[in-house]
Amino acid sequence: MIYFKQPINSALSLIVTLLSIAGLFALLGGSFLFLVQIIIYAGAVVTLFLFIIMFLNIKEESLPHEPYKARWILLMSLLISPFTLFLISAVNNIKFASLHLKDFGSIKAVGMELYTNWVLPFEMISILLLIALVGVVILAKRETNRD
């Protein structure tokens, strides 16, 4: 996903990654998160992303010229890998239970949790979405005034 030159290839592989993660959510018993991941992430966010990429009509000359891309990615992977291996070895020391497929994480249980213990963060999320909406409208409006 991080290696493609064209952003549209990256976006399509990001959709594949998100759908795989949705399947893992279903395997872990998060049926509501499985639906939310498919509908909101793969269905709305990345589709909006693809729409913007196609809307901008990106030509070859507006893409950044990255001749040493593979070398940069290799170097950064070498730099990040000690951190990753440390975290993996830390996780390996913990004894985890194996997967148990029982009735857990149903939509009703998640909804009860969301509307009893998490009401205040839920409302704050709605205010945040409103602020994002206003901010996007202001940005788009300023752009049309300049033209």
Binding site: M1, I2, F4, P7, S10, A11, L14, T17, I21, L24, L28, G29, G30, F32, L33, V36, I40, Y41, A44, V45, F49, I52, L56, S62, L63, P64, E66, K69, W72, I73, L75, M76, S77, I80, S81, F83, T84, L87, N92, F96, A97, S98, L99, F104, G105, V110, E113, L114, N117, W118, I125, L128, I131, A132, L133, G135, V136, L139, A140, E143
Partner: protein
């Protein structure tokens, strides 16, 4: 046998791939998609924790993260459209408006 630890390892690997993509690429679209990948890795770890402790609080946190990512995506895309209209480029090295100038004549 697959246990919850393997989901942790996958989440850590996805997060590292996101960091590598964020640092080493200059295309702003790919940088933003790396951020999305990191958010998804954190979501995967949260859901694995929720499965491990059989507690639904982590799943609700993951829902909050998805909502925040949706808000973030809209603002990012509006900014990208503005930047592309102004500069006709997707290169992150091009957007250096906040960089300090070399000469300080007015100071």
């Amino acid at each position: 046998m697959i246990d919850v630890g393997h989901f942790f390892i996958l989440g850590i690997l996805l997060f590292s791939i996101g960091i590598v993509g964020m640092i080493s690429r200059r295309n702003i679209f790919v940088m933003y998609m790396s951020v999305e990948l990191m958010l998804n890795a954190i979501n995967l770890i949260l859901v694995a924790l929720s499965h491990h402790y059989e507690d639904l609080n982590a799943q609700v946190m993951a829902i909050m993260i998805i909502a925040i990512a949706a808000a973030e995506a809209s603002i990012f895309l509006a900014l990208f459209v503005m930047l592309f209209k102004n500069a006709r480029s997707l290169d992150a090295n091009f957007f250096t408006l906040l960089k300090q100038e070399k000469h300080h004549d007015e100071l």
